[in-house]
Structure formats: structure tokens, C-alpha cells
């Protein structure tokens, strides 16, 4: 194999499983260490740099980092990365003085954003410090997008939402509420230097089956949640059927529970392992006595004398991989209300189709995945509006990229010129067998989030269910992190092939063997990996025997023992810091401070 190129920041970045999986590449292990040291404000600010809404995300993030977490491969459950983020947000101190300074002087460039969801807010966050004027047009009377209108208050308290949204608006956004943009043509004619479309995916999918339009008691999930958020709905019948089993369905069933629903069923077409909802959301719903019914396909609504009685379902039997189904029989289930939660769609009735903004055959805008630019220069999309419904953290990342593009555009640089990622590597050696990080992780299992009592939590719609971690739980959970960013760095010419590192490694990551192609080499490792996603770190031929050192990154626990037992410091533990470029902030320096 070719010796591994560790000069490319992507190599070590990939070793940090959580950071690699995070769309915004939040520096997870560093913020976890900061929390461990009680530096909550620093932990919060580090989060804010990449994900902009730490308190919101610490409660609601889809957390792609957690399934990726190395701890999952090592011994079971991932580190509670997301809820630790909440700890930083809950315990942080004053940060006003740490927020970006907004210059009074403006650069004369005006940016328009459509919608005041997380995507547009991130644009403002990134561009205001660079002397831009940012105007946000929002059709509702309040900011936040779906975070406000759809994520229920028992998961995300209004206070938390407000605080972080206002933090950005207060930087000096020209926010125009109750101002729907009804025509892109009009907007284009207003002389903005760039337009960012962050209008989301506002339309709930409908279910056109017999009886659909014959009752008032059949609701579209996201519209229904919105009407709760805006105070238009405050009750529901006792028997509720939710159609669909995604994350919206979970919020609908739990909201129903709080508005008077007693017998609540979430109806799924397919078996449990094909559900879209995250496992933790399913758990939370089931804890609230919501029943999840599998293999039921809606057939028709049953309506008598204009009154909804319930629904007929076909009971399905699926083949092994749930591709093909057979109908067993038809079953009637009674219901007072039915909520349709089968997905969201984009809709751009306000964008005229003759403006050079191309749409594809699914009527989605054609958007460059790197620059977020539409086919008409100067128009950008981000968040749910760009590629369909995703989540908050993706909306933030799209907007970071779009902000870079807008900044390029306004400076006359092609939007395709992307500032490179950089990295810093700093040896963690403090002395013989002494490191500046805690190299002994805690083997305890993942801490369980405590919830408000099952009676109390239903008393009001907006009681936050999760209590957050206690100090003891936080102390244990932070030490579960394996510090995947403290990298093992190898200097081949120093190695005397004594095998000390190989012998000491608790998880048999290391092998000295003759060179070969990756697939062959993998069979000759001390312990061949089950997960091939992580790379092999392969050295150039070693001085004494010309064999190579191979490190399988897969389950290294970053304990530093290899470096401690190495007599020549051929192995060193170095902290990897990914330098992420943002608009106006290039990060292209690469530096290394070895032991």
C-alpha cells in the first residue's frame, strides 16, 4: 500500500467519528473535554462556531454523530454527545461579549433571505460580522421556522428557542415579519446583491383515499402542530390515529397525548426496523403509552352522517426484507381524529419559472451541492428548501456554505473557489507516561436521561420532558468519550521494531508486517477489523527490516499506551484540531507541533 498521507486534514478528521459524521463538523471531543473541565462557556462557544444553535440542538438534534461514535463499536452505546451539548448550554455563563462584533460600517452589500428558519438565521450570523446588511422576509409573525412552529415545546422550550434566535436577530438583522415573499421576480428587482432562499419544505403530504375530504377531524401533521404552536388548537378527541411513523408522527402522537388523547395509535405500514423515526423518539413516545402498530396500510376513512368514525386498514404480511407485501385482511379501527404524518414536500409557488432558476422533474430547484447556488447566479438555497426536508444541523451547514459563496460572489471570486480545510496537530506529551489529556476512559454505560414524572408532564403542554443530566451524570458521561481527536502519529524512521506498541495495545490495533495491498494486508492484521469504514494507517518501509507499520484506526481507544511504551517516541499522541473555513475566515494553515 502507499504510505498514508496524514498531511491531508481529512485523514485524521475521519478518525474522529463523531466530528466526521456531523454535517457541521462540530469538534465534539474538544467540547466534551471543556465540559469535563467545567469550562461550560468555552464549550458553548466552540459549539456555536460550527452549529450556531447549541441549546436548541442539544435538545433536538438528529445527532448523526451518535450512531457513528466509536464507543458504539468498542463497547455498546455511544457517548451522549447531544445531551452533553445541552449541559454546556444550560450551565454556560455570560456570552454577550464573546459574540461576533458587528461593525457599524457596512460594506454596501445587501443580502435578502426568504424565511426566518435556522438556515436564514445562519446566513445572518455568518455575514453580519463581515459588514453585510441582511434582510430576512418571514411570512409568520415570529422567527424560528419549523423549530418554532413544529417542534413541540415539551421538547424545545420557547425560552431556549428565543434566546438563540434573538442572539442572531440582535446582531442587527433587518427582520421583516408578516412579510411573505410572493414573487421572486419582485425580490430580484429590489437590488439585493444576493438572495438566499431558506423557505423550508412547508407542505405536509396528503393521503388521497376515500373519505379524505369528508370530515374536519382529519388533519395534516405539520399544519396541526403549527396550529398548536400558534395557540389555535388546544384539544383533540380521545381516540387518535396517527398515520406514518417518522419524526413528525412522534411529535403528533405525543402532542395528542397532551391535548386529551387517551387511546393513541401510530400506524406503520412496515416492520419496526424500517421506521424513519429515531429509536430514541420511539422510546419517548412509547413511554407515554402511545401504541405503535405495524404492518397496517390505510385503506379508507369511515364516515357516517358526516362524522368521522375511524379508518379501514389492510393488514399486511411482508417478505423477509420488507420489499413485497400481501394483504391478509381488512380491519376497522375507530377514531375521533386522524393525523396524517407521512412526510413533507417542497413548494415554490412564489418563484416564477422564467427567471433562469431551473427546476428539475420533481419540481425541485437545481442546486449545486457544494456552493448551494441555483442555476441563476446570485440566488442560493439552503436548509429544507434545497434538497427536501432534512434537519436543523443540515440547514446550518448548508447556510455556512452558502455564506462562503455569497462572500465570494460579493468579492468577485468564483463561488466554486472553496477555502480548504486546515489542521493543527499538537503533541500531548507532558513527560514520561504523562499526557495533557485524560487517557483513561470510564467504562461505565451510557447515562440515562431522567424525565419529568409521567403525570406531571401532561399537566401543561409546554413542560420540558427531559430534565438534563445531573452533575454526577455529566461527570460520568464526559469520561466515556474516547478522545478520538487525540491522534496516534507515527514517525517511521525512529522505529526499531521492538514490538512494544504492538504488545501493549489493548485492542490489537497495530501490526508490523510485510507490505501488501489493502485487502491482503487486512487479513494479516493482529485483529482484522469488522468495520471497514475506518482506514489503515500504513507507514513507509521501516528502517531495520523494511516491513511496514500498519495501524487499524477502527477501534483504537486513544489510550496512548503505544506512545508510552515506544522507546524512541516513534508514536506520539497529538491533538488534532480541524480548522474549518467559514465566510471571511480562511483556515488554510497546517501546522504541527511534535513532541
Amino acid at each position: 500500500m502507499r504510505p498514508t498521507d496524514v498531511q491531508n486534514p481529512n485523514y485524521y478528521h475521519k478518525v474522529v467519528d463523531c466530528q466526521w459524521a456531523c454535517p457541521a463538523h462540530t469538534n465534539v471531543p474538544e467540547y466534551i473535554r471543556l465540559i469535563a473541565q467545567g469550562r461550560y462557556t468555552d464549550a458553548y462557544m466552540l459549539n456555536r462556531e460550527s452549529n450556531v444553535f447549541p441549546a436548541i440542538l442539544g435538545r433536538t438534534c438528529d445527532r448523526p454523530c451518535e450512531p457513528a461514535c466509536r464507543r458504539t463499536r468498542v463497547d455498546g452505546k455511544p457517548v451522549a454527545i447531544c445531551r452533553l451539548k445541552r449541559v454546556a448550554a444550560d450551565l454556560r455563563g455570560e456570552i454577550a461579549h464573546l459574540l461576533p462584533k458587528i461593525p457599524d460600517k457596512k460594506n454596501g452589500k445587501r443580502i435578502a433571505c426568504v424565511g426566518a428558519g435556522p438556515a436564514s438565521l445562519t446566513i445572518a450570523n455568518d455575514l453580519l460580522p463581515l459588514e453585510y446588511e441582511v434582510t430576512i422576509f418571514e411570512k409568520q409573525d415570529k422567527p424560528g421556522g419549523l423549530m418554532r412552529s413544529n417542534i413541540p415545546a415539551f421538547r424545545l422550550p420557547e425560552r431556549v428557542l428565543f434566546e438563540e434566535v434573538n442572539m442572531i436577530l440582535d446582531l442587527g438583522v433587518d427582520a421583516r415579519f408578516n412579510s411573505p415573499v410572493n414573487s421572486m421576480r419582485d425580490l430580484l428587482s429590489q437590488g439585493f446583491d444576493a438572495i438566499f432562499v431558506g423557505s423550508g419544505a412547508p407542505r405536509g403530504k396528503d393521503l388521497e383515499i376515500p373519505g379524505r375530504h369528508d370530515s374536519e377531524r382529519i388533519h395534516i401533521g405539520i399544519d396541526w402542530l403549527e396550529s398548536i404552536a400558534f395557540g389555535h388548537t388546544d384539544s383533540i378527541g380521545e381516540r387518535v390515529l396517527i398515520i406514518g411513523v417518522g419524526n413528525t408522527a412522534m411529535d403528533c402522537c405525543r402532542s395528542s397525548r397532551r391535548l386529551g388523547g387517551k387511546d393513541i395509535k401510530v400506524m406503520a405500514r412496515r416492520p419496526r426496523k424500517y421506521f424513519k423515526a429515531s429509536p430514541w423518539e420511539l422510546e419517548d413516545a412509547e413511554e407515554e403509552s402511545v401504541e405503535i402498530v405495524i404492518n397496517y396500510a390505510p385503506k379508507n376513512f369511515v364516515i357516517e352522517n358526516g362524522q368521522l368514525k375511524g379508518m379501514d386498514f389492510e393488514r399486511l404480511e411482508w417478505d423477509a426484507d420488507a420489499k413485497r407485501s400481501q394483504t391478509i385482511d381488512t380491519v376497522f379501527l375507530p377514531a375521533d381524529d386522524v393525523i396524517l404524518a407521512i412526510g413533507q414536500e417542497n413548494a415554490f409557488p412564489w418563484i416564477e419559472r422564467d427567471l433562469g432558476i431551473e427546476f428539475d422533474k420533481w419540481d425541485m430547484p437545481v442546486v449545486n451541492e457544494v456552493t448551494m447556488e441555483a442555476t441563476r447566479p446570485g440566488v442560493f438555497f439552503g436548509g429544507d428548501s434545497a434538497f427536501g426536508p432534512k434537519n436543523i444541523i443540515w440547514a446550518v451547514e448548508h447556510a455556512h456554505q452558502a455564506a462562503i459563496s455569497i462572500h465570494n460572489l460579493c468579492q468577485g471570486i468564483p463561488t466554486s473557489d472553496r477555502p480548504p480545510y486546515g489542521m493543527n496537530l499538537v503533541s500531548q506529551k507532558m513527560g514520561i507516561s504523562e499526557w495533557s489529556y485524560h487517557n483513561d476512559y470510564n467504562p461505565v454505560s451510557r447515562q440515562k436521561m431522567q424525565h419529568v414524572d409521567l403525570v406531571e408532564r401532561f399537566e401543561q403542554l409546554n413542560i420540558e420532558v427531559e430534565l438534563g443530566f445531573t452533575a454526577e451524570q455529566t461527570a460520568r458521561e464526559v469520561e466515556r468519550c474516547l478522545n478520538c481527536d487525540i491522534q496516534t502519529a507515527f514517525t517511521g524512521p525512529r522505529c526499531i521494531e521492538c514490538d512494544a506498541c504492538i504488545d501493549v495495545c489493548p485492542v490489537q490495533c497495530l501490526t508490523i508486517t510485510r507490505d501488501g495491498e489493502e485487502m491482503d494486508l487486512r487479513t494479516r492484521l493482529s485483529a482484522p477489523a469488522l468495520n471497514l469504514e475506518q482506514a489503515l494507517y500504513v507507514s513507509a518501509p521501516l528502517p531495520q527490516t523494511a516491513r511496514i507499520m500498519a495501524k487499524d484506526e477502527d477501534v483504537c481507544v486513544h489510550c496512548g499506551l503505544c506512545a508510552e511504551r515506544c522507546p524512541t517516541a516513534a508514536w506520539d499522541m497529538q491533538k488534532f484540531d480541524l480548522l474549518i473555513p467559514y465566510a471571511g475566515k480562511t483556515a488554510c494553515m497546517t501546522s504541527c507541533i511534535p513532541a
Binding site: 467504562p443 512494544a500 501493549v504 499506551l561 511504551r565
Partner: protein, 351 residues
């Protein structure tokens, strides 16, 4: 001293042996030797061999004397018995323990100082008695623990860290053992587990005393230019004379021997040591030829490694001395010590 003990975690694909134990179950406490010491690699090879043969840790007795090498039994098989004797006295202690309890498997770990200087006489007699044990000399050419004085295995002309040359001639444990009737003689290198592990397995199966001289560089006092026991020197001068595979008794062995083995030795317990390669005209069962070959190579400055000589025909300590089959610890006290009347009677016989 490492900052932490090894985390308890194991590799997800870690295998289990016949007893359901993992390699990690045969580890001991964390090594306190210098980082990079050859002795630690030998420890790792012992861990692997013990795991592979699925020995129950409590059926193992780890014996040693004094020296860095003699500390190593603490670093493997934490569930085993152990005895750390006075300097050079491990062979007689092991002989006694062996005579008293033949059910345990004995592994002695010693150094070149412990075995070839202060303990040389004891070593010779344990070899002659063919005490059933594995006897490992972790050979670094110096007294590591006392900061690097030349030991009796230092080659003439080999230089100390400060640059002085050794003027005395060395004792080669392999030649010594062959000359006094040793029944299992091997040499290996700490940096070559592929070679050492099968040799250890064969030694564990041997009928009597199995001597393994393992070149084990002392990174701190004897790994410099001018040393003849450094990693680099050993690699540059090593000749792997024989290559062996160890085939345990339960496997169907006959067919494979015919195909792969140049020659093979059936061990006392029915297992087979297959020699995959040996030099022409070399017979690992012929003491004279082996000795002659080794002397010839030695004069060329070559370090010959491999399983060099095996003789399964010689009786061991137990057979020669008709020791008790039942461990003394299980013989009722009245039988072990029949009282003064019985002593009186015995003494009468000698009057």
C-alpha cells in the same frame, strides 16, 4: 511505569480458546520495564502460547529469580501460581516444586545474569535432572536491573554503552545445554513471535527440561552500535536455521506431515513438531550434528535460531526419581509424616 492499566476493552473480533478465554485473560499486571524492552515481547509471546494451548491459568506455576527478566512472570497469567526466588536459585526451587506437584505446568523465566553467572551451577543440574519445565533465558548480554554490567553471555569484543569492550569469552547457553545432555534446546529472538510462539508450544509439550535462549535486547543499556545483542545486530546476523509448526495431539496429523514436513518429532503427549525447513545435513534429533553445525555457524559470527535439538526418549525427573503421582499437597498429613514411631523404625534399619 505506564500512566494507566490497559483498558478492559477488547477487540470486537477477539477470539476465544477452548476454555472460552481470550488472549487478554492470560495477561498480567502492567509491565514496569523500560519501554521497548525485549522482555516485554517475550511476555507477549508467552501470553499467546498459553492462550493457544488453552492452559488453565491456575494450573500454571511461574518461577523466576532476580533481574528485569525475572520480574516478567508478574506480567502474564495473573491467575497462575508464582515463586520469585533468590538470585540464581530458581532452578532448585523449580526442581523442588516439580517433585512435590507434577500436575502443574512450570514456566521458568530467567536472565543471562541469573542463569549464567550466579545461578550457573543450579541451571546445569536442573538440565541434568531433566526437570519437566519450560526454561526461558531472556538473554540481553547485560545485567539490566543493575544498570548494564556485562553478563556471562556478552560476546568477546562487544562494547558497553560507555564504549569499553568485553574481554572475557561468553557462555553460550545453547552449547552448554547440548554438552550436558539437555533434551530440548532452542534459540529465538524477542522480535520474532512467529518463530517464538510455536517453539514455546513445543516446549510446553516436551517430556523434560526445555531450554529456550531468547535474544532480548536491553533498550536502555545494550541496544547501541557496538553491542552484539541489539535489535539491529541480531537482525543483521540472525540465521533462522529451522522453522517449526506445532501440531497439537487432537488434530489429524499424519497426512500433513507427509506433505509439509521435512522431518517431524512426536512429543510425549502425542503432539507433533514439524520441521518445515532445516539445513541440509542437519538433524534436530542428532546431538552431535546439531553441535557441529552450531559451532561452525558460530565461528562465522552467525546467530542461529530455531528449535535446534529435541530428544523425547530421556526420562524426566519424575521417572528417574519415582516421585509421587499425587501432589504432596493432597496426601493426608498422617501419610506424609507418619510420626516418630515410624521414623524410629526406619532408623533401626540403618543400624
Amino acid at each position: 511505569m505506564p500512566s494507566i492499566v490497559k483498558p478492559v476493552v477488547t477487540h470486537p473480533s477477539l477470539q476465544r480458546n477452548q476454555l472460552g478465554l481470550t488472549l487478554r485473560d492470560y495477561e498480567g499486571s502492567m509491565s514496569t520495564l523500560c519501554a521497548g524492552c525485549g522482555h516485554d515481547s517475550i511476555t507477549a509471546a508467552i501470553v499467546r502460547a498459553l492462550w493457544e494451548v488453552s492452559i488453565e491459568p491456575h494450573m500454571l506455576a511461574k518461577m523466576s529469580g532476580i533481574g528485569c527478566s525475572s520480574k516478567t512472570p508478574a506480567y502474564f497469567a495473573h491467575g497462575a501460581h508464582g515463586f520469585n526466588s533468590a538470585h540464581g536459585r530458581m532452578p532448585p526451587i523449580a526442581t523442588g516444586a516439580n517433585a512435590a506437584n507434577r500436575e502443574l505446568t512450570y514456566i521458568g523465566v530467567s536472565g543471562d545474569g541469573d542463569s549464567l553467572s550466579i545461578g550457573l551451577g543450579h541451571l546445569c543440574h536442573a538440565i541434568r535432572r531433566n526437570v519437566k519445565m519450560v526454561y526461558i533465558i531472556e538473554n540481553n548480554g547485560v545485567y539490566g536491573l543493575t544498570k548494564g554490567q556485562f553478563s556471562a553471555s556478552a560476546d568477546t569484543g562487544s562494547k558497553s554503552k560507555r564504549g569499553e569492550a568485553n574481554e572475557m569469552s561468553p557462555i553460550d547457553p545453547v552449547m552448554l545445554a547440548l554438552s550436558i545432555g539437555a533434551t530440548f534446546v532452542a534459540r529465538s529472538f524477542s522480535g520474532d513471535k512467529d518463530q517464538l510462539v510455536p517453539i514455546l508450544r513445543a516446549a510446553l509439550a516436551h517430556r523434560g527440561f526445555a531450554l529456550i535462549d531468547v535474544i532480548s535486547p536491553c533498550v536502555t543499556f545494550n541496544d547501541h552500535t557496538g553491542s552484539t545483542k541489539s535489535y539491529l545486530y541480531t537482525r543483521q546476523h540472525e540465521l533462522k536455521a529451522t522453522e517449526v509448526d506445532f501440531v497439537p495431539p487432537e488434530k489429524e496429523i499424519l497426512a500433513t506431515i507427509a506433505q509439509n514436513g521435512i522431518t517431524s518429532v512426536t512429543m510425549h503427549d502425542g503432539s507433533v513438531v514439524q520441521f518445515k525447513s532445516v539445513p541440509a545435513d542437519y538433524d534436530p534429533a542428532d546431538r552431535q550434528k546439531a553441535t557441529a553445525y552450531l559451532m561452525a555457524q558460530q565461528s562465522k559470527g552467525v546467530i542461529v535460531t530455531g528449535l535446534l535439538f529435541v530428544d523425547e526418549s530421556v526420562s524426566d525427573l519424575h521417572e528417574m526419581n519415582r516421585t509421587s503421582h499425587v501432589p504432596l499437597s493432597r496426601i493426608p498429613y498422617e501419610n506424609l509424616c507418619p510420626g516418630s514411631a515410624a521414623l524410629q523404625e526406619l532408623q533401626e534399619d540403618f543400624r
